[in-house]
Symmetry: C2
Subunit: 180 residues, 2 copies
């Protein structure tokens, strides 16, 4: 069954620092014309960095759009054209001070596919050398550590709502169970 | 530690059918001024509807912004001021034809909290009466059914990238395990 909507017209309404916004006219499979709003985002990565004692590095930060302080796996935005693994290797040092080693890739998630181009690539890594934290100018984060079971208990208790963190925590748990 | 950024100025750049966009000036805890781009979205719901045989209703649809056909749990956008459980009850009938019963609430996820107000409330329900599917004019979806293990295998095989579907599938699995 053909479901693809073919773009007829892209109308840019906003070019920003993080996102662009356009409204498109597209042609549906039945020939009718549909209107679509699209947020363009370069995509990001999230990294679950495991220490030798089995705890994971977590970051707490204020998420302005949500008006909430959220507890998340370290994450960051891709630079234009950047390989996501390179983004992950850069961001994990920036946010925790430690490099990651033995990277495992779990694919990407689509956070909100109806109107947003963003994907978030998910990685699991082991803690390597300490190289020193260096945050962006407008970043204000706290680093803490939790076991995977504590993270999953926090998710089930509705205390960790961040989508990438939920997906990655459960994937690591399933990955570890399947390795046994 | 104070992390809250206080809004100083909201500048609307776009008012759309699905989303609005604004750029804000805010005051960081250290007194400095920060610039934030914010997508406003009314929020949505996702529903995992389980049949008597243990299979779940899934929908396949073209996600224009992603340029991909995605396999997801049924979902929909909240009307302004609508209680999310009412949205869930409405959307599950619209998309599958069946009502849900015995609703269990798993909290909400924040799909992309850095710049978007959207939250998605997650529900698990049992299949009730057949009342008939009725889609929105610009909706074009295929309904299929999968076991929870098939969904989780699909996630781990990187074939189901939708964030709400990943979160809800793993939460139902954890919920069932904790009930045993």
């Amino acid at each position: 069954m053909d479901m693809i909507e073919k773009t007829k017209e892209k109308n840019y309404k906003f070019h920003g620092k993080v996102i662009n916004l356009r409204t498109d006219q597209a042609i549906a499979p039945d020939g009718s014309e549909v209107y679509r709003e699209v947020v363009e985002h370069p995509g990001g990565v999230a990294i679950a960095l495991e220490d030798e004692d089995g705890t994971f590095f977590m970051v707490t930060q204020y998420r302005y759009a949500q008006e909430k302080i959220l507890l998340e796996f370290p994450a960051g935005k891709k630079e234009a054209g950047e390989d996501p693994l390179e983004t992950a290797k850069r961001e994990i040092i920036e946010e925790t001070g430690y490099e990651g080693t033995d990277y495992v890739y779990f694919g990407f998630i689509v956070p909100t596919g109806a109107y947003d181009t963003e994907t978030i690539e998910l990685y699991y890594a082991k803690k390597g050398r300490f190289l020193g934290q260096h945050l962006d100018e407008d970043e204000n984060i706290n680093v803490s550590k939790m076991t995977l079971d504590e993270i999953i208990d926090g998710i089930m208790a509705k205390k960790i709502p961040d989508a990438k963190t939920i997906a990655l925590a459960f994937m690591i748990k399933a990955y570890k169970e399947r390795q046994q």
